[in-house]
């Protein structure tokens, strides 16, 4: 649905303009279609259940088993992503058949490789962010849903580039955003796919993304340990 609105809106804009915010017609439509796939890969996850598990004490079962809790969720996320990619590909193919847009495919293997790498970074950043918001019920058991809503709808949808390309913001805001982890979820991978970045910027982006992976992983582990200390395993 979103994609159709996106399509017709930009289609109308490009009737009078050749280029908007540095995007031509092909690039903006490619953005929209790659977005479907990237969204399916990055945002689909099962780990949203973690908050509920903490709030209702179901966590007890899992942490008493000799398994790594994070790996448990990474594998569940992975299977969820796989399923979503299948649907995402179908969706894309159908829309391409209906709308017949011109889509850009990168031919430079460096960009393709960097794109794949940036996707892995994106998934890992999202996993950490999603886990972190899921830990809120350790302290406020009633707040499980609110935190996730704030995180997923407001921050992720808006700041990740899932709604519009982030470089249509004024340059200062865009440069600040690039230092936060959010653009690395959607915007940066798509930009790398489009080949809009120079090699230097690609490298820089991957490095910043990786740094965020490490920082968020450390924070997530720290908060997890803190949370477990006050976990009471209620209701069971």
């Amino acid at each position: 649905m979103q994609i159709i609105i996106f399509f017709f809106l930009w289609d109308a804009i490009f009737i009078t303009n050749k280029e908007v915010f540095g995007y031509d017609k092909i690039k903006i439509f490619t953005y929209a279609f790659v977005l479907i796939i990237v969204r399916a890969m990055v945002f689909s996850s099962r780990s949203v259940d973690v908050a509920g598990q903490i709030a209702n004490g179901e966590l007890t079962n899992l942490i008493l088993k000799p398994i790594n809790y994070f790996w448990y969720w990474i594998t569940r996320d992975f299977s969820s992503k796989l399923l979503n990619i299948i649907f995402g590909v179908f969706e894309t193919l159908i829309l391409i058949a209906i709308l017949k847009p011109n889509i850009y495919f990168p031919s430079n293997p460096v960009y393709i490789l960097a794109f794949l790498l940036s996707l892995i970074i994106a998934m890992f950043i999202f996993f950490n962010l999603s886990m972190l918001t899921s830990f809120v019920p350790f302290w406020v058991p009633e707040l499980s849903w609110g935190a996730q809503f704030l995180m997923i709808v407001v921050i992720v949808e808006f700041l990740s580039g899932a709604s519009f390309p982030l470089d249509i913001f004024p340059n200062t805001i865009y440069q600040i955003l690039r230092l936060t982890p959010f653009p690395y979820l959607v915007f940066i991978p798509i930009k790398i796919y489009l080949g809009n970045f120079s090699y230097a910027v690609v490298a820089q982006s991957l490095v910043i993304g990786l740094i965020w992976c490490v920082i968020l992983w450390k924070i997530m582990n720290y908060v997890w340990k803190k949370g477990l200390k006050i976990y009471e395993g209620v209701g069971r």
Partner: protein, 325 residues
């Protein structure tokens, strides 16, 4: 290793937020949350040898479950020392988790929509049990608990008693050396209770497993536990052999006599405290030390047809223990 479990001066406090009823209460607790310290465990100490089967007795909120959760590594102790199988439970090392199991009466780990055997299969993978060993254990457990025919039935279709037995199998498929059972017979009928009880006894014998069992059901403890720990308000009141509990806390014995002539209550009052007089039966409670004298007196002065001397029922002893403290 001569100690399976060591607990020394274990303290656990919880922080609880209090909220007044209604919307004003909600706002008040948001602005200045009032927290209260709950002292779940106030410095308990005990040690348990490998292979012991211990009963944990205490009223609701006494700290039984808190103790079990701390021993299995779920709760972080506020202070004190805990060691299980020479591990610190809190670290939850895989080697430690593979050797323990915590079963709670109201908790389920089985997958609701799948047959129980699928959950067992998952545990087999998680605990890395060799297939041959797994088959043997499963066969043995299902035979002992008499649920062989039910393993392929969807869990949601099982009765509570059947499900509880499946839970036990899921918890024991990796043959834990230390087993924490929290109210394992809760909500079960008498026959199912007996089955679970027999099974726990067998398991303890066969694998020399260390078992801590909590229950409100005195039959569980009478049948199973050779040693009991009585806990109330986070403190240990008694720790020792089951029989000693009676002699220590029941200062009196019960004399039951069948009479051939009717008497009034006053006539028996000089012998002991009359608990019940319902001709032809009289029940008198007398101090333990003078039981023999009282019985002789009763036989001499009254036309007694039959006389028995009994210990105070265990339920009454426990009730008394909790009342005194």
């Amino acid at each position: 290793m001569d100690r399976a479990i060591i607990v020394d001066h274990l303290i656990k406090n919880f922080e609880v937020t209090e909220k007044q009823p209604g919307i004003t209460g909600a706002i008040k607790s948001l602005v200045s949350p009032k927290t209260k310290q709950v002292h779940a465990l106030r410095g308990i100490s005990f040690t348990i040898q490998p292979g012991e089967l211990i009963g944990f007795i205490g009223p609701n909120g006494a700290g039984k479950t808190t103790t079990l959760k701390t021993l299995s590594g779920l709760l972080y102790p506020t202070s004190g020392f805990v060691e299980v199988l020479e591990y610190d439970p809190w670290e939850r090392k895989n080697e430690f988790l593979k050797q323990i199991s915590l079963v709670m009466g109201q908790k389920n780990q089985l997958w609701w929509d799948l047959p129980a055997v699928e959950s067992f299969e998952l545990n087999r993978a998680i605990y890395e049990i060799p297939t041959r060993v797994y088959e043997e254990t499963l066969n043995e457990l299902t035979t002992l608990l008499e649920v062989k025919k039910l393993v392929n039935t969807q869990v949601r279709k099982l009765s509570l008693g059947q499900r509880m037995r499946m839970e036990l199998i899921a918890a024991l498929i990796h043959k834990p050396k230390v087993l924490f059972l929290d109210e394992p017979t809760i909500g079960l009928d008498l026959i199912a209770q007996q089955k679970v009880r027999d099974f726990i006894y067998e398991y303890n014998k066969k694998y020399n497993a260390t078992i801590i069992l909590t229950s409100h059901n005195m039959d569980d403890l009478v049948d199973l536990a050779r040693r009991v720990i009585v806990i109330n308000e986070g403190k240990i009141l008694f720790d020792g052999p089951f029989e000693d509990l009676t002699t220590k806390f029941a200062k009196e014995k019960i004399i039951k006599a069948t009479l051939s002539k009717e008497y009034s209550i006053e006539d028996f009052e000089k012998i002991g405290r009359v608990k019940k007089l319902d001709f032809p039966e009289v029940i008198i409670s007398v101090p333990r030390s003078t039981t023999a004298v009282a019985a002789a007196e009763l036989l001499q002065n009254f036309p007694v047809e039959d006389l028995t001397i009994e210990e105070v029922p265990i339920e009454d002893v426990i009730r008394k223990v909790f009342k005194n403290f």
